[in-house]
Amino acid sequence: MRVVLAASAALLIAPASASAHGVVGRADLPIPPSLFAAGAAAVLVLSFVALAALWSRPRLAKLPAKSLVLLPRWVDVTLGALGVALLAAVVVAGLWGAQGERENLAPTLVFIVFWVGVPVVSLVFGDVFRLLSPWRAIARATAWLAGKAVPGLLTAPHPYPWRLGRWPAAAGLFAFAVCELVWAPGREPDTLAVLALLYLGAQLAGMAIFGIEAWSRNGDAFGVWFTLVAALSPFKRREGSLHVRVPGSRLAREPSIPGTAAVLCVMIASTAFDSLRETELFASFGVTVQQLVVGAGTTHASGLALAMLAGLILTLIAVALTYLAAVCCMSETATKRRRRELVRAMAPTLVPIAAAYLVAHYFSLLAFSGQDAWRLASDPLGAGTDFFGTASAGIDYSVVSATALWYVQLGALLIGHVFGLVLGHDRALELHEGASAATRSQLVMLVLMVCFTVLGLSLLSEASA
């Protein structure tokens, strides 16, 4: 029964496709997309069988990392200054620039370079945002200056409450999703500038109370999400030097922190909803909600925003229930406390899935609209300037073909879900007694992964058809 519940919930949240940002033509595929979906499902089942047969004890957490090079301190300072400069660019362009989304640098910088570009770079090069973070850089510079001016001025911060965990980050990511997908003024340059300043204020307050590093690791929405994605990278910065490791092995050592599952559910739900809102199913739902709200005396714009908010919240509930149902199925006889521990412990298995949806959903946006950043860098305020000689640069839509885009999306979804299976299996071996119990507990995860992959691919193929 639970498997059916979980699978039906998966059906609800499945459209985590790239349809919303697909801007190129029809993909020229050698075989029908349904065969790709069947092949992907077969790969997942084979991976599960291989894991069950050949992976009988936890391995990932014990894999060592090798030191490559020592990173000098100026790298911290330079990247921190770059982050602060980019934040300043968003604020100045937002407040003083033209207010059209395509004329102003702020929306492109926030929604493409920052929101999509940073996690993609983090997937390859590791946790770059830790160094780029403007709020962390400003707080560190302030602490350093205050320490120099009045030694002993700053007292030890309060210990970060363990129960609070990453919930502030989950709330922050949800608020960002509302700005991106629901609240139309949230995409306007001047609103973005004000929101960036408000977010900076909230981060500095959090760092003042709980300390810079504790807050960055738990309370900074973007810091937490980008760090989780960076755990999939082969590179890691530790104690001032760059280390190389097996990609994803860091996730096996990820501590069980409250709110981590919430962060990842918000990320999966926001990507899924971005696709879902383009479907006819949501259109009819949206119209119904809008009519109800307008009938109660609000404007059409408010009605649409409320319909979108209801859609986002329902998608988030569906994703969260799917995850909880899957975890409950893993341990049907466990106590309530044990299940809560499992919810936290299994959360890292969602990281590759959330990262896969991010790549599949936003890749075309990054590849095409991302090019617009060069034009806007030359004319950030839309005032007719040409700082770098690129103000008249256009978007080259031939840089990635529709077929290549399809393969990138297919690859991202497949690798992400296989990675999720591997991580889930490795974690289950740590949490359960015996390899067979661990494998049995992961059967429901296999069902979910197959559902996600097949439905995701079918929607991707519809988008490129």
Binding site: V91, A146, L154, T155, L204
Partner: protein
């Protein structure tokens, strides 16, 4: 509340973290006010010129 205020010395120094934000917002507000004033000055100058009795348009034709 009283307890929080009584221990103000413990946390007040931490408010220094907000100093850069206060500084930044201050700079932004000052720049905005200056911009508005600079925009208003040419407008009022133009209005003064347009309404002046000795302007060429208002001068009576002999």
């Amino acid at each position: 509340m009283i307890s929080v205020l009584a221990h103000a010395s413990h946390w007040l120094a931490q408010a220094i973290y907000l100093a850069p934000l206060v500084l930044l917002v201050g700079i932004l507000v000052v720049t905005q006010v200056r911009d508005r004033r600079a925009r208003r000055q040419p407008e009022s100058a133009a209005m003064t010129n347009a309404g002046a009795p000795n302007s060429s348009e208002d001068r009576p034709v002999p």
